[in-house]
Symmetry: C2
């Protein structure tokens, strides 16, 4: 059975040492949470997920969700009790508005806690995760009346939320949505249609489920400009706000899927279900994007989170299992064999995972702080810069963290050899669970197109220029730092490739948009590797400062080795990415469709 | 439900056009099978697996194998009938010795047919695959008496075979084997111990199962030099050769695993089971290596085979599913959306898979022919050169084909978006099934060490020098070929990196063996990419010749585009591989074990 220990120390090191958390001391949003409060909350949260949530991960996978003839769904044993404890502990509403029963802590804290929740149990963490997505969309776009009616229960997690986008014939292409909304004349609508792949779409964890549903109001324009967003509760609340009458939405079936068995994936059939408009008519995608962007960052976190727990279990195995001898001769001649950890190739796999994890966590902390600024800063310039950064990094992190997270789970599984393939060891579940993150909330190819087609050119490239500028400033400011010098190479060469690639794209993408499409996936990964290289340089700087103060730890010391490893063995990939993406679209588009 | 069509045309093109099958017309081993016979056999085999075996792939995965209280195991519905038909069709004994009931066709034909079998159903194909491995080991090492007793039933597949290496405490490190063999004094032994991860270890497909078991004769030397190989039948044959008495080997449990559910993975408990020595005492590894080398090539085939069937289904989906619009504007404005195949990034995924598949199949055909020469050539020089090549390419193909095969299954799954994650579409099964091939028959890190530590230095580097020499000759001989010129770049640069890397290894691996270990995995992949680049150059040459003769097909024309794609987008990886592997071991080995 796998185990898990949340990396609270690392999160706090990143906040305090790398990103100078002190500087936010008086900023709105942050002021409620000085670093010792942050550390205390994360430690409590870590304890909760380690003790209550993680033990349900394997059993939840084995048992899965069961749909009954009446359309109701039972979650795996223990999920209901754990979810109740999560709600009662205030964990769902951690960053929720106190007006609606939330704890009022900063949002970044909820993002960082999300990593631990997912490491412990992805399938379980999706229930509160989707609920918080629904809360965010409603906070941004719903009327006060709807907020008052639904947010108190959603914010605390007593009710849960869902996102209803996909239909059988449309996933990525939401312009094809057919679900209909017919106005009742009293401000409400009758919603009819079929939605598929609805995570947490039906279950027994909460008294009510609030579906956020994209649908087309009768007579609306074709395409994405005719789509509206509706709140459709599973049960209509009565005058006291209690769930009472059933509301014409039924779980028609649930999917049998590769992983996340503990989270139900529902087909939902709406038959004149009562719904209320969120935001403006025909502007539903706009409102849903609030939820989707948060969800995309949340999915990026999933990539990191599974990579982390997979690493911990692979490392433990490598320090316990004896097999073969060190290539240099027996390391422990009195034992029948040496530990796996003596083998360079086993270390390679572990270090590839960890050099990703620690830099990805740094990027996550950085972006979570940026998001907090975007939400709470009184300075419009700060908000704009933060919004820019968030918009730019969301597709990069979603695409790169989930691709790497999956591959890292595969590497961790490989460390266990044959045992990695056997269910009871739990490693193969990490692989199966991690796989979905590359697909949902926009497949990674769609993230790459979002980056190249929308985020790069937006506002004349302001966001990407600011990112390059920040790295340039960091490199210039640390030019004289001799201790940092050995760690700069990876970043300098990655940044060079990324800047050249951006130039190439701006020229060749305009000339032929297929060039942009053909380059997009490698560009996204090149962007991600550069951002991780930048994180390693900043982490090294902070680690060296701690060492200089005589205040280091073995974990902090290890970061210098990990940064070297990243420079030697992970940053070189940017050269191959650059070569591939500048190859252009001609060969890709040469074959006629029937030749495939 | 996935579908499958065996690529017989491609196999025959490779044999005839690329590898000049005609030249073997009078060679022993080949002479029984002129190209039209080869094509007819492959076509018949293709039909059999498409119609009989492939339909059981999804159902076999869903149902899995069931162990009963008495230790017996039931395979999924339909397996028994299909296996009976396979035996009766003579497919198990395709290349078997006619003396023992085999069809006497060349071995290479069985290897090429193996690809189709695995594409259709990996779990099913493992039963005859392991049987043929057992036959090969016995043909090479068993006494005539043992051959006469067991081979007639094994060769035809009426009985099946297994390999029993792994024990709970030892997988890779066979020196740790504890299973004991005590001589009975009559030439037989009593075998006692526990073996785990035994594929096809117990089932209901055949009347008897012949286990090849590694065990330690009482008083044998420690380590790998004290291990012997035994034949241990599930039932002892009576005087008429009929399975009669049970033989002290019981299936104690079966594993619940990530994939290949249709093939049972057994824990086998031997309690004084009667066994007979194969080959010499204490030289069991030697005998088992015959089986393991064949098995490793067979596992390489599995990587290709799953990549091929995954490609076929992803391509079909991309030509059927409509989602979004071409970046250049609607390709089919009268439809609600364009086909997925208009999107460059969807094409990228498909072409990455296919540019691997077709080159990998070329390498497989080349090596299968080489293996035939190693087995049958009357010329000792030819045999030696063929043995060298086979030994060199076996770990490369096992490691690279299975890593790429798995990743290609993941890419193919990605093409289907959310549907790729849902069991009923069958793509996620390909991913789960493909995953085992990276682990069994020696995890891929072990293959990399075998390449770097054994195969490279063997006989003063004779094998690798011959390989470089052959490519050098090809490049020199085709220097003036203007039509080929645009396709040489990838091969030239890959070969350059590989030769430099080999030089680096020969220097630095001697100075510190951990450098060899640290470089091994990237070196193996660099070797594989170079071999694939060489295959593309040879395929292009043959395709151009067909075009020059006015005798091309759309499939052959497509190869020129695929070769360009390989050069532009896959060969550049060799630069990154070279950079990584020359980084050396220092950083890898720097952290103390407890820092992991």
């Amino acid at each position: 059975m796998p185990t898990y220990k949340a990396p609270v120390n690392d999160t706090v090191f990143l906040l305090r040492d790398v990103f100078d958390y002190e500087k936010y001391a008086n900023a709105p949003g942050f002021s409620e949470a000085p670093i010792d409060v942050v550390e205390a909350v994360l430690s409590e949260g870590a304890k909760f997920v380690e003790e209550v949530v993680q033990p349900l991960n394997r059993t939840g996978d084995l048992e899965g969700c069961k749909r009954h003839a009446d359309g109701s769904v039972t979650t795996p044993k223990g999920f209901k009790e754990a979810y109740k404890a999560l709600v009662e502990g205030g964990w769902v509403g951690l960053a929720g508005d106190p007006k609606y029963g939330g704890q009022g802590l900063p949002h970044f804290l909820a993002v960082l806690f999300e990593e631990y929740q997912v490491s412990a149990n992805l399938a379980f963490a999706m229930y509160p995760g989707l609920t918080n997505g629904a809360v965010a969309a409603m906070m941004a776009h719903a009327s006060d009346e709807l907020k008052t009616r639904f947010l108190p229960k959603l914010t605390t997690g007593e009710w849960t939320g869902t996102m209803n986008l996909t239909e059988p014939h449309c996933g990525t292409d939401l312009g094809l949505i057919k679900t209909k909304a017919v106005p009742h004349g009293d401000g409400s609508y009758a919603i009819t249609g079929q939605k598929i792949f609805i995570s947490a779409g039906e279950h027994d964890l909460a008294d009510n489920i609030i579906h956020l549903v994209l649908a087309r109001i009768e007579g609306a324009p074709q395409g994405v400009k005719g789509i509206s967003l509706f709140i459709v509760p599973k049960f209509l609340p009565d005058a006291d706000g209690k769930p009472s009458q059933s509301n014409g939405v039924v779980c028609g079936s649930i999917e049998h899927k590769m992983g996340i068995h503990g989270n139900v994936t529902a087909v939902l059939n709406y038959d004149g279900a009562k719904g209320w408009l969120v935001g403006e008519e025909h502007r539903g995608l706009n409102a849903m994007f609030v939820m989707m962007n948060g969800a995309r960052l949340g999915v990026a976190v999933q990539g990191l989170a599974i990579s982390e727990v997979a690493y911990q279990n692979a490392a433990a195995y490598a320090k316990d299992r004896r097999q073969g001898r060190s290539l240099k001769g027996p390391a422990e001649p009195d034992k029948a064999a040496d530990l796996l950890i003596v083998h360079p190739d086993v270390r390679r796999m572990l270090l590839e995972i960890r050099a990703f994890n620690e830099a990805a966590r740094a990027l996550l902390v950085s972006v979570a702080l940026t998001q907090e600024e975007a939400l709470t800063s009184p300075d419009p310039n700060v908000r704009q810069a933060a919004d820019d950064r968030l918009g730019l990094m969301t597709p990069v992190m979603k695409g790169v963290f989930t691709d790497c997270g999956f591959m890292n789970a595969v590497k961790a599984q490989q460390v266990l050899g044959g045992h990695g393939y056997i269910a009871e060891w739990g490693m193969e579940q990490f692989v199966r669970d991690a796989r979905i993150a590359m697909i949902y909330e926009g497949a990674n190819g769609v993230q790459a197109l979002d980056l190249v087609g929308r985020k790069l050119p937006k506002d004349g490239g302001r966001a990407v220029m600011a990112f390059f500028g920040e790295i340039g400033q960091f490199l210039a400011a640390s030019k004289a730092d001799a201790a940092l010098a050995p760690y700069r190479g990876g970043l300098e060469s990655a940044l060079g490739h990324l800047q050249q690639a951006t130039l190439w794209l701006s020229k060749n993408g305009l000339a032929d948009p297929d060039n942009a499409g053909a380059a997009s996936y490698d560009y996204m990964h090149l962007f991600g590797l550069t951002a991780l290289a930048y994180m390693w340089a900043r982490v090294v700087k902070a680690a060296l400062a701690r060492q200089a103060k005589g205040d280091s730890t073995p974990e902090i010391d290890a970061k210098l080795t990990l940064a070297r490893f990243f420079n030697e063995r992970m940053a070189p990939e940017t050269g191959a990415q650059f070569a591939r993406l500048t190859a252009g679209a001609a060969t890709l588009m040469a074959l006629p469709a029937e030749a495939f």
